[in-house]
C-alpha cells in the first residue's frame, strides 16, 4: 500500500477535548447569533426563489390531474388564501405565480407537459401580460425558474426540505450580495444595522413555504415601516405602467396576438381534460384608473373573453370580488380570506367534487 495516506500520518490528539469544545463553541455561537438576529426582523422563512418554485412545480408533476395550480403575479401570491381554499374545498392548491412576471411561460410549460390535466387558476393582468410581450428579456426569470425545475431531480426535494427546516434552526440574514460583500458589511458594521424584513432577507421576497408571500406585515413591521412599503408598492406599478404607455402604447391588434397565443395553451390543456380559470384581480385608486385608460375593457378584456375558451372572471363583474387595495394592486391581508371564499363560490362548479 502507498505510504501517502492520511492514515499513515495520523497523529495523536485529544479527540474528545477537541470535538466537545468545538461542539460547545459552535452551539454557543449560534445561540447568540439567533438571539441577535431573531430580534432584528429575521424570521425563519424560506426565500421565494427558483428552488422553492421548482419544488412546487414538481408537486404538479406528482399530483397530475388532481392538481390545482395557481399562476400569475404577486397579486395571486398575496391575494389568494391557500389555507382558506383548502378549508372550503378540501383540496390543496399549488402556488406557481411569480412576482412581477407574466404567467404565459408557466402556462406554456404546463401545456407542454403531456400528462398535465389539472385545474389552472390564473391571475391575469392586461398590463403585465402586454408589457412582458413588449420588453425584451422579460421572460428570463420564468424561463430560468422553469429550467431549474427541468434540471432538478426528485431527490432534490429531500435536500430542499432539509434546508428549509434548517432556516428554523439558524437565522439566515442576508448580510451582503456575496461572501466578500458580507464580510465587508460585517467589518464596517453595516450588516448589523436594523433593516425591514424585505431588505434583511435579501433581494428575494421572503415567503411562507407554500409560496404565499408575507402579506401580513403587522407581524413584523411598525406602522411607519408598513406605510413606507405600501407607498413604494403603490408607486412602482404606476410608474412602470406610465413608462410602458409612453414607450409601447397598448394596441388591441397586438393584444389579440397575445390572446391567441394564450388560447393555444388553454386549448391544449383543456383538450386533455384540464380546466383554465382566468381571473382579473382587483385594482384600486390611481392604478385602476390608469389601467382603465390604457386598456379599455371593450378593446382588451372583452376581446380576450370572446376569444378564450377558458372560464374568465373580472372583478368588476362580481361585487363580492371588489375590495379596496391599500397599495393599489394587492389585496390587503385582512381581505384575502373573504376574496378567496367569494372566488371559490363563483368557480365551485369548475372545481372537482
Amino acid at each position: 500500500m502507498s505510504i501517502n495516506t492520511a492514515n499513515d500520518r495520523l497523529f495523536k490528539f485529544r479527540i474528545g477535548r477537541v470535538w466537545v469544545t468545538t461542539f460547545l463553541l459552535v452551539i454557543s455561537f449560534f445561540i447568540v447569533w439567533n438571539v441577535f438576529w431573531f430580534t432584528h426582523y429575521v424570521v425563519p422563512l424560506p426565500q421565494d426563489d427558483a428552488k422553492l418554485w421548482s419544488y412546487h412545480r414538481r408537486r404538479v408533476e406528482r399530483e397530475g390531474n388532481n392538481s390545482i395550480v395557481l399562476i400569475g403575479t404577486s397579486k395571486m401570491q398575496r391575494g389568494f388564501d391557500q389555507n382558506k381554499f383548502t378549508d372550503l374545498t378540501g383540496r390543496k392548491s399549488i402556488q406557481l405565480a411569480i412576482v412581477g412576471q407574466s404567467p404565459i411561460p408557466i402556462l406554456q410549460n404546463l401545456a407542454e407537459e403531456e400528462s398535465f390535466n389539472g385545474i389552472v387558476i390564473c391571475d391575469f393582468s392586461e398590463f403585465i401580460v402586454y408589457q412582458s410581450e413588449m420588453y425584451p428579456n422579460s421572460f428570463n426569470i420564468p424561463n430560468e425558474w422553469i429550467k431549474v425545475y427541468q434540471e432538478s431531480k426528485t431527490s432534490d426535494d429531500f435536500e430542499f426540505r432539509l434546508r428549509t427546516y434548517s432556516t428554523y434552526l439558524i437565522a439566515n440574514p442576508t448580510l451582503g450580495a456575496n461572501l466578500p460583500e458580507a464580510l465587508k458589511n460585517v467589518i464596517t458594521g453595516k450588516a448589523f444595522e436594523k433593516k425591514t424584513i424585505d431588505k434583511m432577507q435579501g433581494g428575494v421576497q421572503p415567503t411562507y413555504f407554500d409560496r404565499s408571500l408575507i402579506f401580513n406585515l403587522d407581524d413584523y413591521l411598525s406602522q411607519e415601516e408598513k406605510n413606507e412599503i405600501i407607498e413604494k408598492n403603490r408607486i412602482v406599478p404606476i410608474k412602470a405602467m406610465e413608462e410602458m404607455i409612453e414607450k409601447y402604447p397598448p394596441q388591441p391588434t397586438k393584444f389579440l396576438e397575445i390572446v391567441r397565443k394564450i388560447e393555444g395553451y388553454v386549448e391544449k390543456i383543456q383538450a386533455r381534460g384540464g380546466k383554465i380559470i382566468i381571473v382579473n384581480f382587483p385594482l384600486s385608486g390611481e392604478l385602476e384608473k390608469l389601467n382603465d385608460i390604457a386598456f379599455p375593457r371593450k378593446d382588451f378584456w372583452d376581446v380576450f373573453t370572446k376569444q378564450s375558451s377558458a372560464r374568465t372572471i373580472h372583478y368588476k363583474d362580481y361585487p363580492q370580488l371588489q375590495f379596496e387595495c391599500s397599495d393599489g394592486s394587492h389585496l390587503d391581508a385582512k381581505d384575502t380570506p373573504q376574496f378567496t371564499e367569494s372566488l371559490v363560490e363563483i368557480i365551485r362548479k369548475d372545481l372537482p367534487k
Binding site: M1, S2, N4, T5, A6, N7, D8, R9, L10, F11, K12, F13, R14, I15, G16, R17, V18, W19, T21, T22, L25, V26, F29, F30, K153, S155, F158, E159, L162, R163, S166, I170, T174, L175, G176, A177, N178, L179, P180, E181, A182, L183, K184
Partner: protein, 473 residues
C-alpha cells in the same frame, strides 16, 4: 448526492451508526454497498444499471483471465474489458463529440448530413469508475494482483461511495486488502476523518463556491470582451477554484472513508508549490496522473525508447488526459499544452538544470511562481466554454484591453487576490509537509478553535449549492 448537502450529512450519520452496530463484517460491507448504490442513485437511478454492467463484466473477465497463462489468450480477454469499458465511456462521454465532428468532416466533403437529435446524458462519475475497473483488469493481466476472491469486496471497490463519483481513483491493490478484515475507525481516525471533512467543506463551500467561483463564472461566461484586469483576476480565480473545489471533494472523500476505517491515497499534495510541471503533476490530482503514468505512458514505452519517443509518449498521454476531462477540443488542446510544457521543461532542465543559482531558495520560489503563472494561463483553455472563448480571453489578458462592464465588485476582486496569496503561501510553506503534521504541532484548543470557526463559516456562507467541478468529467 453531494458531500456539501444536508442529505449527505444525514446519510452519513446513518451509515456511521450502521457501521458501528454489532453486525458481521460481511453484513457491514453489504450495508456499505447498498448505501453506495443509494448514494449514486440519488443522482439518476437508471445509471446504476450501467455501474452494475461495468462491475459484472470486469469481474468475469478477471476470473477468466486468471485461469489461463497463455499470454495471447489473456490479451484477447483483456481486450474484452477494454472494449466494454472504453465502449461505454466512448458512447456516453464522447458520442455527441464524435458525431458533431463527423458531421463537420462530411460537410467539408460537401455532404450535408443531419443526424437525428441526440440526447445522450453523461452518467456521473463514469470516467472515474471506468478507470478503477480498467486498472483492476490491467493489473490482473500484468499479474500484479490476484483477482478478488469475493464479489462483494470487488463490487465495493468499484462502488464505495466516498470515491465513486470523483475519485480518488482507487487501485484494487490499495483497497481489496482492506476488505479482508473488519474495518472500524479508531477514535483518532474518526476525529481526524471529521476534521478532514470540515476542511474539505470549507475549501468547497466557503472558498471555492463562496468566493472564487462567482468571479470566475462571471468572467468566463461573459459573452463580449473583458478588461485585462478582469481577465487575469478571472483566470487566477479559476486556478484557485479548480484546486479548492477538487481538493475539497478529495478531503471529504478521504475523511469519510477514514471515519469508516478505510484508507484512501492522497489526491493532492500542495500542487501550487510545484517547481516545474513534472513536479506539478506528482502533486495535482495524483490518482489520475499516476493512473495515466502507469497504464498509458509506461504502456506506450515511457522514457525507455529514446528522447523523441519519450516526448511523443508524453504528448499522447497528456492529450488523452485532456480528452478524459471533457469531450471538447479545448480540453484536448489543454492536454496538448500540458504535454508541450512537460517536453519544454525536460529540454530546459537538460540545458540549464545544472546551474547552481536555480537550486537556491529564491530561484526555487521564483520557479514556483512561474509554474503557477504558466499553469493559470494554460487553464484558460481548460475552463473557457470553447476554443474561441479561450482565445478571446487570452486576447483580453495580453492586450491591456479595457471594458466598462462591471463583472464583480471590489470586495470580490480583493478576496480573489487574498485567496491566491493564501494558497501560494500555504502551499509553499507546507510543500514538504502535510496537514497532519501541521495540526499535530498545534495545541488542542487551537485545533478546536479552527474547526469551530470553519464550521460556523461553512454554515453561514450564503450562495447556491454548486456541484463539484469534477462531477462533469
Amino acid at each position: 448526492m453531494v458531500f456539501n448537502s444536508l442529505t449527505f450529512i444525514l446519510f452519513f450519520i446513518i451509515i456511521l451508526i450502521l457501521h458501528n452496530l454489532p453486525f458481521s463484517w460481511r453484513v457491514k460491507k453489504f450495508n456499505l454497498l447498498i448505501a453506495s448504490y443509494i448514494f449514486y442513485a440519488a443522482w439518476s437511478p437508471p445509471f446504476v444499471i450501467l455501474l452494475w454492467v461495468a462491475t459484472v463484466i470486469d469481474w468475469f473477465v478477471a476470473q477468466w483471465m486468471a485461469r489461463t497463462d497463455d499470454k495471447k489468450k489473456r490479451k484477447k480477454i483483456l481486450l474484452i474489458s477494454l472494449i466494454a469499458n472504453l465502449g461505454m465511456l466512448g458512447y456516453f462521454k464522447y458520442g455527441n463529440f464524435l458525431l458533431a465532428n463527423f458531421v463537420s468532416l462530411v460537410k467539408l466533403l460537401g455532404i450535408d448530413y443531419q443526424p437525428p437529435e441526440s440526447s445522450i446524458l453523461l452518467p456521473i462519475g463514469i470516467s472515474f469508475y471506468t478507470f478503477v475497473t480498467l486498472s483492476y483488469t490491467i493489473d490482473i493481466y500484468r499479474k500484479e494482483i490476484e483477482p478478488a476472491k469475493s464479489f462483494l469486496d470487488y463490487s465495493l471497490l468499484i462502488t464505495f461511495f466516498p470515491h465513486l463519483v470523483a475519485g480518488p481513483i482507487l487501485r484494487a491493490a490499495q483497497f481489496l486488502p482492506q476488505c479482508l478484515e473488519e474495518r472500524k475507525a479508531t477514535l483518532q481516525q474518526l476525529g481526524w476523518g471529521f476534521s478532514l471533512i470540515v476542511l474539505g467543506l470549507f475549501d468547497k463551500v466557503v472558498l471555492a463556491d463562496g468566493i472564487v467561483a462567482p468571479v470566475s463564472d462571471a468572467v468566463y461566461w461573459m459573452k463580449g470582451n473583458v478588461s485585462w484586469t478582469q481577465g487575469w483576476i478571472g483566470s487566477f480565480a479559476f486556478t484557485a477554484q479548480l484546486f479548492l473545489d477538487f481538493n475539497g471533494y478529495s478531503l471529504c472523500a478521504i475523511g469519510s472513508a477514514l471515519c469508516l476505517g478505510f484508507v484512501f491515497p492522497d489526491n493532492f499534495r500542495f500542487p501550487y508549490a510545484a517547481i516545474g510541471f513534472s513536479d506539478f503533476w506528482t502533486r495535482m490530482h495524483i490518482s489520475l496522473s499516476s493512473w495515466l503514468r502507469d497504464y498509458l505512458y509506461i504502456s506506450l514505452g515511457g522514457n525507455r525508447k529514446g528522447t523523441f519517443r519519450t516526448f511523443c509518449n508524453l504528448m499522447i498521454t497528456m492529450l488523452l488526459g485532456g480528452l478524459w476531462h471533457g469531450a471538447t477540443w479545448h480540453h484536448v488542446i489543454f492536454g496538448g499544452i500540458s504535454g508541450g510544457l512537460l517536453v519544454i521543461e525536460i529540454i530546459l532542465v537538460r540545458y540549464f538544470g545544472a546551474i547552481d543559482f536555480l537550486k537556491t531558495k529564491l530561484a526555487q520560489f521564483g520557479l514556483m511562481l512561474l509554474t503557477f503563472f504558466v499553469f493559470s494561463v494554460s487553464l484558460v483553455m481548460f475552463r473557457a466554454p470553447g476554443v474561441g472563448n479561450a482565445l478571446r480571453m487570452y486576447g483580453s489578458m495580453f492586450s491591456f484591453a479595457d471594458s466598462d462592464k462591471i463583472l464583480f465588485s471590489n470586495p470580490q476582486g480583493i478576496a480573489i487576490i487574498v485567496v491566491i496569496l493564501w494558497l501560494l503561501t500555504s502551499h509553499w510553506l507546507l510543500r514538504n509537509s502535510s496537514l497532519e503534521e501541521t495540526f499535530s504541532k498545534m495545541p488542542w484548543w487551537l485545533h478546536s478553535l479552527i474547526l469551530s470557526l470553519l464550521i460556523i463559516v461553512i454554515i453561514l456562507t450564503p450562495g447556491e449549492n454548486r456541484t463539484f467541478i469534477y462531477f462533469q468529467f
